[in-house]
Structure formats: structure tokens, C-alpha cells
Point group: C2
DNA sequence: ATGGTACATGCAATTAATTGCAACTACATT
DNA sequence: AATGTAGTTGCAATTAATTGCATGTACCAT
């Protein structure tokens, strides 16, 4: 059973429809690896189906985010990015506000945080894909030398 | 020495200027408590000085954020909100994606996370003001009953 | 297969935020 | 106090994202 079929099932069982537009958006998310902007996805879909509207892309991404099939993240570049969650498994990013370097952060750090919050407040956090800003080791050392 | 004077000093020593517009924006942040939108701040300043432009507000908020005097947070309401960091001290928020309830989260949780990240990667995260989305205890129990 | 309906789409209009640029000004230096 | 300049402002234009609405369609139930 293809992953596309799985997703279609999730859509249907949650009261959504598997439209051609959505299938194309799903394909774009699947093919493109990593973080994609809405405009990039829009461009991909347009190749096949020029009548698609950017609002359909945003609305579909909204649905997929609600279903937690994609993550939506501001990586500090102005454009919000979307990532198919199964691509990399759960992970997060450290982004240096000085040199803009982006690195990955293992999910375990946030898993622990989530468990603590859950245990003490009953609130179950979605810790799908965080962008954590700060200063990287290199830039910090550089700054200290001055 | 007033807090306004402190801020002016911070601005000057970091190569920025203390313009009348900025002082009015600072006053708006200081008076208004809690999370303010750029439009709300804009409105406040306009009362006193109608010629101010919204771009000046955004640019000033950008500077103040860089200096970590205000936090910038998407609370899930469509408009980004800004908060004068000294108002509440460091704190964070848990936001239920089902009922939209917003609660506070003590900084300690994130302090610990930050220390761990710092120790293991050398990256020093800014953990000023997080909005953590998820499902609150009440909504979770409600969902389980169905 | 057909029909009814809740959901989705495309389009246009709107809102939020950003950016380029020429004119202006705060303020450090003299 | 006068000067030079880096940084700031207002304005207009742009871009990113959202929303209202009339039309269209997926898909469940028959
Ligand atoms: Mn990622
Ligand atoms: Mn807050
Ligand atoms: Zn760096
Ligand atoms: Zn709730």
C-alpha cells in the first residue's frame, strides 16, 4: 500500500476530500526533500495544472498541518517553510542569528521537555518541528575574542 | 534612573538612535501590558504623532527584538505579538489548538533545555518567549471520552 | 449508477509585513 | 556651536498570507 494511499485514507476518515489538487500538492511535498515554501510547492503543481491557485496551496497545507502530516516552520528567512514529517522523522533545528547557520537537533531533547510538561500540567504539546534561534559555538567564541 | 533612560543607553551603545518615534513606541510597549500587536502599538503612537508610519513601528520592533528588549511571538491568532520582556520576566505559553486556551509556562523548563543544548553543542539558544501549541488537559480528556 | 450535500476551488479583494529610496536627523567629533 | 555621517523616517510599492463568495466536485448513501 503506497504512502499516497495512506494519506488519502487519513484525509477521508477526518472528513476531508482527496482532490486532484491535493494529490499534486502531496506529490510535491513528497518529491521535494527538506523545507519547501508555499511558493515552491505552488510552482511544482502549476507545471502539471496551471489553474491551481496559491490559496488552495495554503489551505491544503493548513489541512495537512492540522493532521500533523506536515510541519510549518519559520526558519527566519521571511518565508514560512513546510516539511513532510515522515521525510526525516522528528527533528528540530538550531539557527544562528549571527551567521544564519542551520543545524539539526535530535528530537530527544524536546521529547523530554514534552514529557515533563505533560506530567506536570496535563497539557500535551505538539513538538513536531521547532526552530530554535540563538548563537552558534563558532560565533560565540568569535564574539568573546573581541 | 528611569527605565526609559536605560533603554536609550542600550540603543546608543549598540549604534542605534533614540528618536522621538522610538521613544513613543517604547512608551506604548511599557504602558500596554501583555502581548501587543504592531497595529495596537501603531494606534497608540498615532494618537500623539499622526505622521508615524507602520513600517517605522515594525522596524523599531525589529531593533528592540534584536536587542532582546521585546519578544516577538506568533500566538496563533494571525497577528504577531510583541511583549516588553521585563514586564513579566521570562515566561512561555501553552496554547491549546482545540479550545485556544492560553496558559503560562515557567521559564525553568526551557532553562534546563537550553543548558543541555549549550552543554552538548555549544549553541546558546535564545529562549525568550515560546508559544508551545498542543492540547490542554481538559480537551484531551474530552476527546478520550469519545 | 444517481443524487444530495458537505467540503473544496478559483478568483478577487483584503490584510500583514517587508523593502527601496530620497529626504531627514540624532549625535559623536571637532 | 558647527559639521559630517551613519542611521532613521515616511511614503509608495511589493510580497506573503488570508478571507468571502459563488461555483464546482468528491464521495457517502441510496
Ligand atoms: Mn527540518
Ligand atoms: Mn507572554
Ligand atoms: Zn553562527
Ligand atoms: Zn483545550
Amino acid at each position: 500500500m503506497s504512502c499516497e494511499t495512506d494519506t488519502v485514507k487519513v484525509l477521508r476518515t477526518t472528513g476531508h476530500k482527496a482532490t486532484p489538487q491535493r494529490l499534486m500538492i502531496l506529490a510535491a511535498l513528497r518529491h521535494g526533500s527538506g523545507h519547501l515554501t508555499a511558493t515552491e510547492i505552488f510552482g511544482e503543481v502549476q507545471v502539471e495544472y496551471p489553474y491551481v491557485d496559491i490559496s488552495t496551496v495554503y489551505r491544503t497545507l493548513g489541512v495537512l498541518k492540522e493532521l500533523r502530516l506536515v510541519s510549518e516552520t519559520d526558519m527566519g528567512t521571511g518565508d514560512t517553510t513546510y516539511e513532510w514529517v515522515q521525510h526525516q522523522g522528528r527533528h528540530h533545528h538550531l539557527i544562528c542569528r549571527n551567521c544564519d547557520e542551520v543545524t539539526s537537533l535530535d528530537h530527544q531533547y524536546l521529547e523530554d521537555l514534552g514529557a515533563e510538561i505533560m506530567a506536570e500540567s496535563g497539557f500535551k504539546p505538539d513538538l513536531d518541528h521547532f526552530a530554535i534561534f540563538g548563537v552558534c559555538a563558532r560565533c560565540r567564541l568569535e564574539a568573546e575574542r573581541n
